[in-house]
């Protein structure tokens, strides 16, 4: 599809203005407070679960904490590069270069669209197929008024084939129309800052054409199903959601708590050491003396189990009658 030349020129002029009239003070980077808050909450969850001896809850909390710490470090790295970039001189961007880029985009992609009213430039990829799974074509929409912002573009699935477990994930590396740029983050920022629109769209297309199995939102092998949190097998349309950790499990692996009846995964259910029945973490409490989990019925008094209570009574008796039960010591 060929863009009319007057349309192309007007877009090029507006993009050139957006690139060169940047006011640096409007675009100062901010500290990643929200990521810090999230990491802090995850840390407290992990700390509480670990100090209370909830092994499975601790393991799950640890995984969330790892994720949040990873994102926090990523945001700090990005902040550092944003600060560095802010102190670099403004790159020289020529109108000629932008026009050449727009013309080359027409040759490179089947569909390019310029919307002067919305001030967006869009290209559409070919249908993306990764490891025999079809994801359909994607449209990359660049809002040139936000070209210096954190997210100036969206990646929209034209005919979405989302993951069964999360309809916001339309590609292993796209969630809620945001592409996780991975290692290409700096290359993308540099291309945008320097007005290299052709490079920007080509890099994004290459990311969409590539599958990184080590860090997808949803892996390709789990695309058409929901993996059971416990056994890993793919579930069909029906599955349980664990009341405690919210993970999805197959019916074979989930069970009901014997007290509240809520469905839980096998990792969150634990056995009462008194009656051997299964309970969720909310319906179990630790014995104050031995620390083992018990249901409410099996904790006798002062949150102590029967065995510990009997042991305490024996100790008490022994200290009251050190030489024998109920007998006074004989005179010498």
């Amino acid at each position: 599809m060929t863009v009319p030349i007057d349309h192309l020129l007007r877009a090029a002029i507006q993009i050139h203005q957006a690139l060169t009239q940047r006011k640096r003070t409007n675009n100062l980077p901010a500290l990643p407070y929200s990521f810090w808050d999230r990491t802090s909450r995850s840390f407290h969850c992990w700390h509480r679960a670990t100090t209370r001896g909830w092994k499975e809850a601790s393991r799950i909390a640890r995984r969330r904490l790892d994720d949040d710490m990873h994102h926090l470090v990523y945001e700090i790295d990005r902040l550092r590069s944003a600060i560095d970039q802010h102190h670099q001189p403004m790159p020289m961007v020529s109108l000629r270069m932008i026009i050449d880029d727009l013309r080359s985009l027409e040759d490179e992609f089947d569909c390019i669209e310029i919307n002067l009213r919305e001030q967006t430039l869009s290209i559409t990829t070919e249908p993306i197929v990764l490891e025999e799974i079809e994801f359909g074509a994607f449209t990359i929409v660049l809002d040139w008024t936000k070209i210096h912002d954190h997210w100036p573009y969206r990646v929209v699935a034209n005919d979405p084939h989302p993951a069964r477990s999360n309809e916001d994930v339309t590609h292993p590396h796209v969630s809620s129309e945001k592409l996780c740029e991975g290692n290409a983050h700096l290359a993308i920022r540099n291309a945008l800052a320097e007005g290299r629109l052709f490079d920007f769209f080509v890099i994004l297309r290459q990311i969409l054409r590539t599958y990184n199995p080590s860090s997808p939102y949803v892996s390709i092998e789990n695309w058409h199903g929901v993996p059971c949190h416990d056994c890993g097998s793919l579930t069909g349309d029906e599955y349980d959601v664990c009341h405690t950790c919210e993970s999805m499990t197959c019916f074979d692996c989930s069970n009901s708590c014997d007290d509240c009846g809520e469905r839980c995964c096998g990792r969150c259910l634990d056995t009462c050491r008194g009656c051997d029945r299964s309970f969720c973490p909310h319906c179990l409490r630790d014995c104050e003396a031995c620390g083992n989990p018990f249901c409410q019925e099996c904790l006798i008094e002062n949150d102590t189990c029967q065995a510990c209570l009997e042991a305490q009574e024996e100790e008490t008796d022994a200290s009251l009658h050190p030489d024998g039960v109920g007998q006074a010591p004989l005179p010498p």
Binding site: E108, C180, I207
Partner: protein, 72 residues
């Protein structure tokens, strides 16, 4: 002669370079990137280039990996 070289491997930095007359695309790739060129989109003035293509004054050369890994 001067060319404009953009290496999208890593940070995607763009620089003006001085290269000798008669330098080919393949020689520039070996010098600045290295490895197997089959893993890259190598373009001169935004068009795909062969390794034997001679560079000209003010050429715009870009090297983009074919596989660029996203994350989550």
């Amino acid at each position: 002669m001067r060319i404009y070289f953009i290496n999208h491997l890593g940070g995607g930095f763009a620089n003006h370079l001085d290269v000798a007359e008669g330098t080919t695309v393949g020689q520039l790739f070996d010098d600045k990137v290295g490895g197997d060129p089959a893993g890259y989109l190598i373009r001169v003035n935004r068009l795909p280039a062969s390794k034997d293509q001679l560079l000209q004054e003010n050429d715009r050369v870009s090297v983009t990996p074919i596989r660029i890994e996203g994350a989550r």
